[in-house]
Each structure stands twice: as C-alpha cells, then as structure tokens.
C-alpha cells in the first residue's frame, strides 16, 4: 500500500539510521568541543539533545537509543569531571537522568509523529487508489450508450452519464444537482406512491415512462430503477437506466395499424371470395339448367320430327346437341378450375408414387386400343394436397395421351429431377405432336389452345388448372417442346407449408 512519491523524504534504512546516530552525535561532540575551546559553557547539552532529536526524527527508535547512549558517553567522557574518564560523580547523575528523559521524550514524539505520518500517507494512497478506481468505473459507465443516472432520495440528480446526455440533451453539469422531475417532466404509467412502494419492497421497479428532452420533444423510455441502501440499510439513492423505446412503440403502433388494415382486407377478400363462390354456385345451377333443356328438347324434337326432318336438318340438330354438350363440358371445367382457386389446400405428406398410379388408372381408359408405353420412375413422398396433385397429374397425363394419339407407338415418361430438400421437379415427357416454343407462354392460359379442335378436342382449361394447382403448392410450371418431336411438361413443388 505504501507508495512514496518524489518530494517526500525517504525513510532511512536501519544501518543508515545508526550511521546517522553516530554522525549526528560526532558532529554534536565536535561542535561542543569547539564551543568549549571558545569558552562558551552550557551549550553542550542542547547540542547533544539536538543530535538525539535529529536521529529520532529521521531514524528508528533503535538509532535514537544509540544516539542517546553515545551522547551520554561523549558528554561524560569529555565534559564531566573527571574529564577523559567515564566515571561520574553522584551529583551528576540527575543531570544525566534529565538528559535521558528529555531525549526519550523527543524520541517518543518523533516516533508518534512518524506513525501518524505513515498512517496519513497510507490513507492518502488508499484514497487516491479509490479515486482512480471510481473514476475508471465512472468512465466505463460513460462509455455505454445506455442512459444511466443516479438520484438521491429527494430526487436530486447526483450522477449523469454520457448516455443520459445523449438521450435528454442535458450535460452532466446541467443535470447534476437538479430535481429529476423538474428536468425531465416524467409521466408515469402508475401512481408515484405505487412505484415508491414497489421500490422499497423489492429494491427495483421498471416500466415505460414518458419524458421530455432538453429540446422539448417527448420520448418514451423503458425505465429500470434500482434502490441503493446505505450501511444502515436506509434508502440512499436510486439508480435509473433508460432505453428509448419510442421507435419500438411507433413500430408496435404501425404493426397494430397494419394488422387492422390486414384484418379489413381479409374481411373484404372473404366477402369477395363469398361473392365469387355464390357466382360459381349460381353458374353451376343456372347455366346448366337451360343447357339441359336445350339438349333435352332438341332430342325430343329430333324424335318427334324425325320423319319430316331431311338430312340437312338432322345435321343441324346434331350440331345443336354437340355444341350444347361442349358448353356443358366447358362449364364443368370452368367450375372445377374456379373451385381450385377457392378451395382450401389440405397439405400433408403424400406418396407421389401412389398419386401417379391413381392418375394413371383414370387416364388409361382414354388410351384403350392404343399402343402406349408408360414409363413411371420412382417418386418420393412429398408435402401437398393429394387430390389437387392428382388432378394436376391427370390433366398432364391425359394431355400426353391425347397428343400422342397420332403416333403408332406412344411413349410417355413420368419422373422427377432436381430433387432438393425443399423442392422437387416432376416431368411428363411424351413423343407426341409437340408444339412451337414460340407459343409456350400461351399454354397455361384459360381457353388457350394450340391445336385446332378438329385435331384434338379440349376446353383449354386443363393446363390452366395445372398451373393453378402448382402455384398453390408454391411451385411453377413450364414446358419444352418442338413441333412433331414431343413435349415435356415440368412442374416444381416446394416443401414449405406456407406456400
């Protein structure tokens, strides 16, 4: 602990102390002999006393004792009758005792002084160290951007860090000594009495507090208080840390507004969806009924007027019937298409192998009597809506079957590629009539057809349905083909539930 600063006398070592004793007594003796030669008397004793005092002051008590003994011996030898002898008369004894006592007193004073001085120095060093330590801690608190300040129990600010200055715009000089509530105009979420009660009970409190900055703007802070007690366990000070949550509050408010809007939009969308549903429902009923009547009564007409209708008229009746049936198919396909858009997807882990087999059994009857080779590779289990995926595959496989009809031997291959943990690509390849890539973008539109109806029947909704199903599975669908050299349809499926 002892730390001697330059400018202060260094304590003498033990040997130096004894040397000082010898030296100072020798000097005193020399001076005493000198003054005796000059016929001054009565000065010798103070000179020796002075030597003892000097030694006591600067050296240890051992050295002081040596100085005392040497002084007594020198005085006795040189100045007490008989001179040049260490013997002394009885009458001189009190003289020596007084000298020794006085010397001891001086020594004692010196040692007390030295002890006090040492203690003072020690406490000074301790204080200095503590000051250094505290200054370091305080500057650490200043490093943080968190707002930290301390108030005493009468709300007077006693500490104010840099973060506090940054947040509130008051410097430490301006803030310290002020009443916190006068400076910051805090608005608390609960009554002050409750806060105080909580603070005294648990030693802490936290909550959101609105305060005012130096420039008058308001700020909402998350405020945490800790109570410091003194050595007698009395509340002494409150350490408060603040974090600006204005931005967070603003975002929360923003999110709340957005959610509200989203809720409104959802309600609107739900209403629109309901309308669409009602529309589709109405189409499903009201559009099919007249169609049924057209077909029914035309059939009845055909029957009742068979004898008077010539061949041409019979053909006209046939066309009416055919067109009505076609319209029936269109309505059914459109309704199925719109249903896919409206229906909820029920996604779970499904076996694509099984789905392909189910689709194949649906499609196979379309190819009866034809030479069709189906090559189906093993497919993994995947996350999706089984019945929707089956419908997509039926459409694609039925297409492949349809557009290979002109081939003596049709080859249709189904497989998967690019399998990744979260995505898979399924393809259906055929050796059919293909298509011109120039029109690839038209393939998936509703009512889009690339072939004349006479060659290949169809409503032009199948691939649009496939696309809708794939989109609802977070994937995309595309095709490659060359005229007369077959076509390949690809679709990807993502694994995320949200898609």
């Amino acid at each position: 602990m002892a730390e001697w600063k330059p400018g202060l006398p260094k304590p003498l070592s033990e040997i130096q102390g004894y040397l000082l004793a010898v030296f100072s007594v020798a000097v005193a003796l020399g001076l005493a002999l000198l003054v005796e030669r000059l016929h001054f008397s009565g000065v010798q004793v103070p000179l020796f006393l002075f030597a003892v005092a000097i030694t006591s002051w600067y050296a240890s008590s051992g050295a002081a004792a040596l100085a005392l003994v040497l002084s007594c011996l020198s005085f006795d030898y040189f100045f007490v009758e008989p001179i040049h002898s260490l013997t002394m008369t009885r009458s001189d004894l009190p003289y020596f005792i007084a000298f020794a006592s006085f010397s001891l007193l001086v020594s004692w004073f010196a040692s007390v002084r030295r002890r006090v001085e040492l203690e003072l120095l020690q406490s000074r060093d301790e204080l200095r160290n503590e000051v250094v330590e505290r200054t370091q801690q305080a500057s650490l608190l200043n490093l943080t951007h968190d707002t930290i300040f301390v108030r005493d129990m009468s709300d007077v600010i006693t500490y104010w860090n840099r973060g506090a200055q940054e947040m509130y715009g008051w410097t430490a000089e301006e803030a310290i000594g002020k009443q916190a509530h006068e400076l910051l105009h805090a608005i608390f979420p609960v009554p002050m009495d409750d806060i105080r009660a909580e603070l005294l009970r648990s030693g802490r409190w936290d909550g959101e507090v609105e305060k005012t900055r130096a420039d008058g703007t308001r700020v909402v802070v998350a405020s945490r208080w800790s109570l410091r007690r003194d050595e007698h366990d009395r509340p002494a000070a409150i350490l408060e840390t603040n974090n600006d949550v204005t931005e967070r509050k603003r975002r929360e408010e923003e999110i709340r507004t957005l959610n509200e809007e989203l809720g409104k939009r959802t309600t609107e969308l739900e209403a629109i969806n309901k309308e669409l549903e009602a529309f589709a429902y109405s189409i499903s009923h009201d559009l099919r009924a007249p169609l049924r009547h057209m077909v029914g009564f035309t059939e009845l007409l055909q029957k009742s007027a068979a004898s008077i209708l010539n061949e041409k008229s019979q053909r006209y009746v046939g066309i009416i019937l055919e067109s009505a049936k076609k319209m029936g198919n269109l309505i059914d396909d459109l309704l199925a298409f719109s249903r896919i858009g409206r229906a909820e997807t029920h996604k779970k882990l499904v076996s694509l192998d099984e789905i392909v087999q189910e689709a194949l059994s649906e499609v196979r009857h379309e190819t009866e009597g034809r030479d069709v080779v189906w090559k189906v590779a093993a497919l993994p289990a995947w996350f999706g809506d089984g019945s929707m995926l089956r419908l997509a595959l039926v459409n694609l496989m039925s297409n492949a079957a349809k557009f290979t009809r002109t081939r003596p031997k049709a080859e249709i291959e189904i497989g998967c590629m690019d399998q990744k943990p979260d995505q898979i690509v399924i393809f259906i390849r055929d050796n059919g009539v293909g298509f011109n890539m120039k029109y690839a973008n038209k393939l998936f539109g509703v009512f889009q057809r690339l072939h004349p109806l006479e060659s290949f029947e169809g409503t032009g909704i199948g691939l649009a349905t496939v696309q809708r199903i794939v989109h609802r599975h977070g994937g995309r669908v595309w095709a490659e083909g060359l005229v007369d050299q077959g076509a390949t349809f690809y679709f990807s499926l993502s694994k995320s539930k949200g898609a």
Binding site: Y281, S284, H285, D286, R288, A289, L291, R292, H293, V295, G296, F297, T298, E299, L300, A324, K325, G328, D332, L335
Partner: protein
C-alpha cells in the same frame, strides 16, 4: 309392376318438370307424380295444409327434391322433413343441377337418401330419371304410410 308408389316432385323450372315427366312417361311412371313448384308448397303438401288440405291421405313413396327453389329452398325442406317424426321416413332424393360438394355434404348430413346430379345429356338424364323412378317407386319397399297404387 305390382305397385307404384306416389312420387312427389319439387321443382320450380317448368321445363325440368316437363323433361322429367317425359322421361317418367316413357316408362309409365308419370301418372302418380305430384308436382309442387317451391319448398313451401312441398311442405304444404306433406302436411296436408293450404291447397293440399283436401288431398288423399298418405306420404309419397319418394320425394324428388331440387335444391334451388323459391321461398323455402331444398335443403330447408330436407331439414324439416328429416326432423319431423311423421315425415322423416319418406325417402328423399336430391335431384339438382349442381356438382357443388358443399350441397352434397350438407344434404347427406341432413339425412338425404340419394343425391343425383341431373346430367346435361338427355339420354343420360332420361336413364337417371327412369332408374330413380323404377327404384324408388317400384323396387324399393316404401316405409309404412306411403301411398301405393295396386
């Protein structure tokens, strides 16, 4: 054909009525068909009230019910029949234009005995009606209290 049960048909569209009756006529099933034009009338008939207060007693052997009806719709008629102790035994066949799954599910939940979508194709339509008529009015043993013609 030993007996022919009475068929109650609930259908608002006169053309559908005509086509259905024509189909039934082809198989001599039409003379025991009662046609009501909306749900309210059908319920009046079943409860022998209003215009049907004076009708002969007995429940129909089968009820051919369209879903989209004026005033009281088909599902409501079905619900009332199936929750009425005097009527709940009457076999009800929903005969509708719609493929809507929710209608089908709702009908079965209410206890419908059959659900038939009217085919657009006339031959299929005639076949469907004929088979329905033959099955429900002739083959099926109607519950006690049904009107049957010897």
């Amino acid at each position: 054909m030993s007996t022919l049960g009475r068929i109650l048909m609930v259908e608002d569209d006169p053309r559908d009525v005509e086509l259905t009756l024509t189909a039934l006529e082809e198989y001599n099933l039409a003379n025991e068909v009662v046609v009501t034009r909306d749900g309210e009338e059908a319920l009046d008939y079943l409860h022998q009230r209003g215009n049907f207060e004076a009708r002969s007693n007995g429940n129909p052997a089968v009820l051919l019910l369209d879903l989209k009806l004026p005033k009281v719709d088909g599902l409501e008629v079905l619900k009332q029949i199936k929750s009425d102790d005097k009527l709940k035994l009457i076999p009800v066949v929903v005969l509708t234009s719609s493929h809507e799954e929710r209608d089908m599910v709702a009908s079965y939940k209410l206890g419908v005995n059959a659900y038939v979508v009217k085919p657009v194709d006339f031959h299929e339509f005639v076949n469907a009606i004929k088979e329905l008529g033959v099955f429900w009015a002739v083959i099926n043993e109607a519950p006690p209290g049904s009107v049957r013609k010897k």
